[in-house]
């Protein structure tokens, strides 16, 4: 087939490959493709270098298309082999190694180079830019042997480099030529707040400083400034700007200015040759961010595929600082100029600053510091240019849910399908709609399927909004956040990872799933511990160091460091013998307070940690679960055994439930109750699961809570027999264990997912049986922790103080 066109792409970077991806999607097979890349890697996400440097991602994590992608798409790839010559007459390119390839269509996407200030000494070892994997590796290597780093340039890239170097353990000084850092994106107020925050993180700043020379012999030793002052440095990162890489184009006689000049269809001055990305100059502008480059790529792909396209008409850009632990967002024209009005909100204590700039009823710019959650929505308003008259304050003070939700979703509805939502990855509103139609139901899934919000994360709120818009009530499965500051993954992604990759320990999960804190925190460690146990009930070994004290020592820690002990009393029913035993132990150990708990148990309060093992062995009653994220109590009334109203045996039912589900780990504490008739003396309707007897049957109520926010439970179902109560309770509890976020009480879970979705899930008898099977399997491995501790020296030792052995005074 001789009409297949030969397409050659020079530059294996973000813009070029994005264009190919697009082309392959809309017109597969129309071109025979060859790619030349100067770097020795397949196509990777340059943006993420900042995260690699800061330790949030590994180099292997940032590959966008690996070698197999090229193969699958029949693309010939030459890496580490830059094109050195274009012969525009013969229509062929030649690479450094001598490969010569003819073309019908030539695509230049050579990107840019870091601008290295032409200072005396700039060629010394230890002076680098921040541009590619090699620079990143140089920084990581240098940090191992050297201490002092200087970053020239207090812009976005400089600060990201500085943050990374700080994480690598270096002393970092940022040198900025102007008074205010990030002055191209932030106004004074935001800039100052940012600087203060970064200083607190340990970054040093020298502002109003012009570097004059770089000192040192072979390797850099320091910097000299124009004002005569000096600074020691073992590594200098120049982040003062980029210059489009147009060398090749110039040598081939392609018209250039600052970049390679292109029209609205990305055509250069020479037929058959196109340019996209940072190397291209469109209407006098060269861009240094991916969003516009992806828009260009989209247009070019359509052009190459021979499709109608209105062309590219330039981009409004937004920026966001990615790795500093500070949220900064800026978009459009953020400075006050004549003809503009601006509104500001500044909270120095909370560290929040917001500013919006309005011109003729339209939003034209915004700066957010500290709270950037509205960034994406504001950005969208800036781009679509609708009137914001009368809504200014609301825009400034936050598009709070509720009152303005309608506006928010209206805005999303009106957004055109081809509008780019995720700038980093060039994902349009339409792409997200398609992903949802194809079955994506969470942010994680959309991320996996479209890459939306997989890079800088700035568009997350928009993507979430769209998910809601498209999937909405139909799924009832809302969007989730990363579970804590150590990861961006949500529950689904984590559990998915654990299952798919067979992860079997907390540490392994953190490693493989890319935790930013190597040992996690008090939020994620217990959560992982729980999820692992839930996924692998039989072979996961519970990690006690990832549990809170209450669950590590199976006693409740009190404010003065003592503990309280609550022996299990099934269904609240005890015997004189047990009462005597409890009383004797309390006396023997001088327990200062004995109290009835709200759940019909006896609480021995004020016990010293050293006394716990003694108390346990003498009580010889099961316990250790009155304080954890587990089944706590089953409260009962007297039921038909004694009560004149009772219709069923509430005590018997309660005891049966408690014996069946004691020791069950759960996402949060779980309390049950059983009442013998609808008078409900056991207060079963404010429990996680309450059983209320009716004449000839039982009502099962779920999602109740008597805590901070009282919530009455809702009827799950009505059943006839005790066995059915057991079955439904087991199925419900296991469904909760599998579906809820760690730490989420049933009341919140039911509200979040909706009772209907739970009813539906449990309606099928087979599903119920399966759930019951899984909870039984889980429960089969549990043991009484008290017994275990008393018989294990290694565990016992942690309850006693160490003897002070000897001391040497000096």
């Amino acid at each position: 087939m001789n009409h297949i066109k030969k397409l050659v792409l020079v530059g294996n970077g973000m813009a070029g490959i994005r264009t190919l991806e697009h082309l392959l999607k809309i017109a597969p097979g129309v071109c025979d493709i060859t790619v030349f890349g100067a770097e020795p890697h397949p196509n990777y996400n340059r943006i993420m270098l900042s995260s690699v440097l800061a330790g949030g991602a590994g180099l292997q994590d940032i590959v966008i298309n690996d070698w197999s992608w090229y193969e699958e798409n029949h693309i010939r790839l030459y890496t580490g082999d830059p094109v050195t010559e274009i012969d525009t007459d013969k229509r062929q390119v030649t690479s450094r190694s001598g490969v010569c390839v003819p073309y019908d269509l030539l695509l230049l996407a050579t990107g840019s180079n870091a601008f290295i200030l032409p200072l005396p000494g700039a060629n010394k070892e230890g002076v680098i830019g921040f541009r590619d994997i090699r620079d990143c590796e140089t920084m990581m290597e240098t940090a191992k042997t050297h201490k002092k780093a200087a970053v020239i340039g207090g812009g976005l890239l400089g600060l990201e480099a500085a943050r990374g170097l700080l994480n690598l353990g270096m002393d970092v000084t940022v040198i900025h030529i102007h008074e205010h850092i990030m002055d191209r994106q932030l106004d004074e107020a935001a800039s100052l707040m940012l600087r203060r925050e970064l200083e607190e993180q340990g970054m040093n700043f020298l502002v109003n400083k012009r570097t004059a020379a770089i000192t040192g012999r072979r390797r850099v030793e320091g910097l000299k400034f124009a004002d005569g002052s000096e600074l020691e440095a073992d590594l200098i990162v120049m982040a003062v700007g980029i210059i489009p890489d147009i060398e090749l184009a110039v040598s081939a006689g392609i018209p250039v200015n600052r970049g390679i000049i292109v029209n609205d269809y990305m055509e250069t001055g020479i037929p058959g040759i196109y340019a996209v990305g940072e190397c291209a100059e469109h209407r006098g502008i060269t861009y240094g961010l991916v969003a516009p480059l992806y828009e260009q790529g989209g247009v070019l792909a359509q052009r190459l595929a021979g499709m109608e396209t209105p062309g590219y008409s330039g981009s409004v850009i937004s920026t966001r600082l990615k790795v500093s632990g500070v949220d900064v967002f800026s978009a459009g024209c953020y400075k006050d100029e004549s003809g503009t009005r601006s509104l500001r909100y500044q909270d120095e204590i909370g560290g929040v600053y917001k500013k919006i700039v309005i011109k003729e009823e339209k939003l034209i710019g915004a700066v957010l510091f500290g709270d950037t959650s509205d960034g994406a929505k504001l950005f969208s308003l800036i781009k679509n240019g609708e009137s914001v008259l009368g809504r200014e304050k609301e825009l400034l003070l936050g598009l709070t849910p509720g009152q303005s939700e309608a506006n928010g979703s209206m805005m999303l509805e009106q957004m055109p399908d081809d509008e780019i939502v995720c700038g980093c990855n060039g994902v349009s509103k339409g792409d997200i709609g398609e992903a949802v139609a194809a079955g994506c139901r969470s942010l994680g899934e959309i991320k996996a399927c479209t890459k939306a919000s997989a890079s800088c994360g700035g568009c997350k709120p928009l993507v979430e909004g769209l998910l809601q818009l498209y999937a909405g009530a139909e799924t009832g499965e809302p969007v989730k956040e990363g579970i804590c500051g150590c990861t961006t993954l949500d529950r689904e992604a984590i559990i998915g990872g654990i299952r798919e990759m067979g992860l079997k320990s907390v540490k392994e999960a953190m490693n493989v799933l890319g935790w930013s804190e190597p040992e996690g925190c008090t939020k994620c460690r217990p959560a992982l511990n729980y999820y692992l146990g839930m996924v692998w009930p039989l072979d996961y070994e519970d990690e006690k160091e990832s549990r809170f004290t209450n669950e590590r020592y199976h006693a409740n820690i009190q404010k003065d460091g003592t503990y309280s002990v609550v022996p299990r009393i099934y269904g609240g029913v005890t015997s004189p013998a047990d009462l005597k035993k409890i009383a004797a132990v309390a006396e023997k150990y001088n327990v200062p307070l004995v109290k009835f708990t709200g759940g019909q148990r006896l609480d021995l309060l004020g016990v010293k940690k050293e006394d716990l093992p003694g108390i346990w062995s003498e009580l010889d009653m099961p316990s250790g679960h009155a304080y954890g994220k587990t089944l706590r109590t089953v409260k009962t009334c007297v039921g038909n055994t004694f009560c004149r109203f009772g219709t069923q045996d509430a005590m018997g039912m309660g005891i049966r439930l408690e014996k069946a589900f004691e020791r069950m780990n759960a996402p949060a504490k779980v309390k049950l109750a059983v009442s013998g008739c609808p008078r409900n003396c056991a207060e079963a309707t404010i429990k996680d699961l309450g059983v209320v007897a009716i004449d000839g049957g039982w009502g099962i109520y779920v999602g109740g809570n008597g805590g901070i926010k009282v919530r009455a439970s809702e009827l799950l179902c009505t059943v006839k027999t005790e066995d059915e109560v057991m079955e439904w309770t087991g199925a419900y509890l296991q469904y909760y264990r599998e579906q809820a976020n760690w730490g989420e009480r049933t009341a919140h879970w039911v509200e979040r997912v909706g009772l209907e979705s739970i009813k539906q899930a449990l309606a099928n008898a087979e599903t119920r049986q399966e759930l019951v099977g899984r909870i039984e399997e889980t429960l089969s491995t549990t043991t009484d922790p008290w017994r275990e501790i008393i018989h294990d020296k290694e565990l016992l030792k942690n309850f006693v103080q160490l003897p002070e052995l000897n001391s040497v005074t000096e």
């Binding site: 925190c521 549990r547 460091g561 160490l802 040497v808």
Partner: protein, 110 residues
């Protein structure tokens, strides 16, 4: 604190295997309760066993990397410096520790 600051003493308080990895033990030295923490990397840190917030016993907290989270209200305290981490503030006494790598004896300097 009732320590005479003009003299320092080196006290043998434990053996490495007395303390679980990411676990803690306590020892009372001249009226001060000291918590000994064993980090994930095997090293040992010593802090006065009282959270600067409301006196929580840090030995009962969760050890994450180089910090311990107080069991009472989750303040995060750096185990090397005794410095409370953001957003809370405060500081507490940290005692230098020494480990005899052959015998595994743990000393604290007070």
């Amino acid at each position: 604190m009732e320590i005479n600051t003009t003299t320092t003493s080196r006290i043998r308080v434990a053996n490495l295997n007395d303390i679980d990895l990411r676990g803690a033990r306590t020892v009372r030295i001249r009226n001060i309760e000291v918590a000994l923490f064993r980090l994930g990397d095997g090293s040992v840190r010593a802090l006065e066993n009282r959270c600067p917030h409301k006196g929580g016993r840090l030995s009962e907290g969760m050890i994450c990397g180089s910090a311990v989270h107080c069991p009472l209200h989750d303040w995060k305290i750096d185990l090397s410096t005794g410095q409370v981490r953001e957003p809370d503030t405060g500081c507490m006494t940290a005692f230098p520790t020494e480990i005899d790598s052959e015998s595994g004896a743990v000393y604290i300097v007070i």
